[in-house]
């Protein structure tokens, strides 16, 4: 009831990347990959902690990652890691006011200087780097 009266979009609105250009898609991907990497980190700690249960338990756990499903998950993790890092650097520099343009007299049709081609290029480069890293990772993992 309170949410309806406040009329907030909530998580569904926040997680909708479709309405506000590539910058919002980049924001959405950054959050998604962040959550994905957090899940991987927890899984990774769980996996490596199995070593305290002895060599047999450790090798049994390792076998799980040596399956096609395990390779697919690792390939996705590589992509998430590369995108999150590359786009994160762009966002961190932007947060310091670097690469967001200079204030000036706005002229119709009022294109925002902060949503400039350098920012867009960096987003596309981040996506492309992630795709390349995934392809390389997949080639290594599935290659043998």
């Amino acid at each position: 009831m309170a949410e309806r009266l406040s009329n907030r979009e909530g998580i569904r609105g926040m997680a909708n990347p479709t309405r506000y250009g590539i910058e919002r898609v980049a924001y959405w991907l950054q959050r998604l990959t962040g959550l994905g990497l957090l899940a991987y980190l927890i899984g990774h700690i769980y996996e490596t902690s199995s070593i305290v249960n002895g060599k047999v338990a450790w090798e049994k756990m390792l076998e799980l990652t040596q399956t096609p499903q395990g390779h697919i998950i690792l390939t996705i993790v590589i992509g998430m890691c590369v995108y999150h890092t590359a786009n994160g650097i762009r966002v961190m520099l932007g947060h310091g006011g670097i690469g967001v343009g200079k204030p000036g007299e706005p002229e119709y049709p009022y294109k925002a200087a902060s949503l400039n081609y350098k920012q867009r290029l960096c987003i596309w480069v981040s996506i492309a780097l992630a795709a390349l890293a995934m392809m390389y990772g997949a080639a290594v993992l599935f290659g043998d």
Binding site: R4, L5, S6, N7, R8, E9, G10, I11, G13, M14, R19, Y20, G21, E23, R24, A26, Y27, Q30, R31, V91, G94, H95, G96, G97, I98, V100, G101, P103, G104, E105, P106, E107, Y108, Y110, K111, A112, A113, S114, L115, Q119
Partner: protein, 259 residues
């Protein structure tokens, strides 16, 4: 017997002026909601004639005038100067007076109240929080002396000094940026892009001496650090204010990139 002369094809082309502005018919879906009576918003549909210059606000006013006068909508200047008629048009925040139906490119136009603002009724939303956050930013020049003190001169600024904050002073407080912001969607205590951009507007003004005060106000958990530079605020701003740029430049002061 009456004889009707049929003009030849070539004659017809020159003698009969064809209307160039045939009205189209579109379906306008208006969100209806009265918090005191309704449990959920509903949509009322109206078929209305539009010309290529008809704005969404004119279409709503056509409905209000001819089909259903009970629709609640806030508007005033009709020229993107007052910031009253912000609403979601086909899911995206925009000024109704500044959006032509022909530019939307759809035969169905859906108008809803702006997200992240409480609904008063139908398309009218409550701006209490926006105005309160705006006031918190102390939107005035802060300094000890004054231009009107006898014996003092006006505070001179160069065009370069002016350029540093001018675009941010064009904010009309329409609330579209707050409506598009993904952080505003989930954090009701967030100051929002409008307030933060106004803080920068005064911090960047070389006549102002309240930078420390304002930076202290925005440097809090629901303040500037909750902006993740999604850029949606600047994407929807109808006046070219670019709140995303203002927020990042303001954060530059807190991070030590700017003095």
């Amino acid at each position: 017997m009456a004889v009707v002369a049929i003009p030849k094809a070539s004659e017809e082309a020159t003698s009969a002026p064809t209307p160039t502005t045939q009205p189209n018919t579109i379906t306008l879906r208006i969100s209806r909601f009265n918090p005191s009576n309704d449990s959920l918003p509903t949509f009322a549909e109206f078929k209305i004639p539009v010309q290529k210059w008809t704005t969404v606000l004119e279409a709503i006013l056509h409905v209000k005038q001819n089909l259903d006068h009970s629709i609640a909508v806030r508007y005033s200047c009709r020229q993107a100067s007052c910031g009253s008629c912000g609403m979601k048009i086909n899911g995206k925040p925009a000024l109704a007076c500044y959006t032509k139906i022909s530019e939307i490119g759809s035969k169905v136009v859906t108008v809803e109240p702006m997200s992240n603002f409480p609904i008063i009724r139908d398309l009218a939303v409550d701006f209490k929080q926006l105005f309160s956050d705006h006031k918190k930013m102390k939107p005035f020049i802060m300094r000890d002396d004054s231009e009107i003190t006898p014996g003092t001169k006006e505070f001179v600024q160069t065009p370069k000094d002016l350029e540093k904050f001018l675009q941010f002073s064009y904010c009309i407080k329409c609330g579209l940026c707050n409506s598009a912001c993904p952080t505003m969607a989930t954090d009701e205590s967030f100051i929002g892009p409008q307030g933060l951009a106004q803080a920068y507007r005064y911090v960047a003004d070389n006549r102002d001496q309240g930078k420390k005060d304002r930076l202290k106000i925005v440097d809090q958990s629901h303040g500037i650090w909750r902006c993740h530079f999604a850029g949606s605020c600047s994407h929807v701003c109808p006046k070219g204010v670019d709140p995303a740029m203002a927020i990042q430049l303001l954060r530059g002061y807190l991070m030590g990139f700017r003095k």
